[in-house]
Symmetry: none
Subunit: 226 residues, 2 copies
């Protein structure tokens, strides 16, 4: 799942710069030039909202309050304020809070914040401690390990990601391309056969359960129906 970010600011230049850079980081970026425009979006579909405090009729604060109080959304919000701070190097931390950045800010800084916020919400919400199960498999996301009948099986990152994908959507067939898109970042391009090799290694580690992962010739891989 790609991470979606919404930028709400009436300065078009700024929006473009942010959009360009955040997209460069692999985020899917949407832009709104006013609070009204932002309200037309499906706000709950974003992982982070960057919000200018000073804007046309409806201020960023009002919008934030609407988002929180009326729409009852808990999307993390990062405020952009015009008060110029000097050098904001920042890394504070506390769970569940929004944040603010003073203009002028460096793009680097914004990206750092966005990453931090996403990181935080990831490890906070249902993501942490998430355990996927399929037959005798128990995939422990926090521990990045697989447990089969109380036995721990260590997986490499790629193996973990492949198994995670499959167990998250059992009985769905994933083409090699699907997997490449989901598991490998855009900059990295690998051969389709590479997927096969990883699946083979994963199967080997699964021992007698290896055949739970099945291949459908011409289509891809999937988990056998329970």
């Amino acid at each position: 799942m790609s991470t979606r970010v919404l930028v709400v600011d009436d300065e078009e230049d700024l929006c473009e710069i942010l959009q360009f850079n955040l997209e460069g980081e692999g985020y899917e970026v949407d832009v709104a030039y006013s609070a009204e425009e932002a309200l037309k979006k499906d706000l709950k579909s974003y992982q982070v909202i960057l919000l200018d405090v000073m804007m046309g009729k409806i201020s960023g604060f009002k919008l934030a309050k609407m988002i929180r109080q009326e729409m009852k959304l808990s999307v993390p919000i990062i405020f952009l304020t015009a008060k110029d701070g000097e050098n904001n190097t920042l890394t504070g931390f506390s769970l569940g809070a929004d944040d603010y950045i003073s203009k002028p800010f460096s793009v680097r800084e914004v990206i750092a914040r966005v990453k931090a916020v996403i990181q935080r919400t990831r490890s906070e919400g249902g993501y942490e401690g998430k355990k996927l199960t399929y037959r005798e498999f128990e995939l422990d996301d926090a521990g990045k390990q697989l447990i089969i009948n109380k036995k721990v099986i260590e997986l490499t990152k790629k193996e973990f990601e492949i198994l995670y994908l499959l167990m998250d959507n059992p009985s769905r067939v994933f083409s090699r391309e699907d997997m490449m898109n989901r598991i490998w970042t855009d900059e990295v391009v690998v051969m389709a056969r590479t997927v096969d090799v990883h699946v083979a290694r994963l199967r080997k580690k699964l021992g007698k359960y290896g055949h739970y992962i099945r291949s459908k010739p011409g289509y891809g891989y999937y988990l056998e129906h329970e």
Copy 2:
């Protein structure tokens, strides 16, 4: 009883951001844009007061003195100070269990402090000597030391914090970023490799138990399953 917080600062944006975020944390937040305005409030009804040092006619310090000496209140005060190079004119300032944060700060930091202060005043008297154990490790939070088979091992602060984090969540994998965020809270940014070095030093002190701390390539560090 809900926890009441008063924010006193002449920067309206900042006040709003703090109010918004603290309310998001479940606090009841009141705002005053000047010392005079603050004095009209029922100051003893707050559990914490966030106070800007630099403000109009009456400075934050003066207000604090009035609160402490004339009104004889012991409400915890957290000062917000403008960060200037030759700081520490503050260190001599000991009006009790107060705290101060330099601007520019991150909202997360403020919230963390507020939580800490409230926590502290709540559990006053009852000393919290939390002890974590994992296999033959016994981590004494009060003494900030590790005991293995009756033997005391002195740890540096960072070592202690890393071990504490791991022992508090055994078998969970912490990325270097996780650790940086949790352990280097203040406005310090360190390289990810710095975490590695600390882990290495910690392992060395743990001697033959060093391998209890394991690394998972691509993910981070965790405590070996017992």
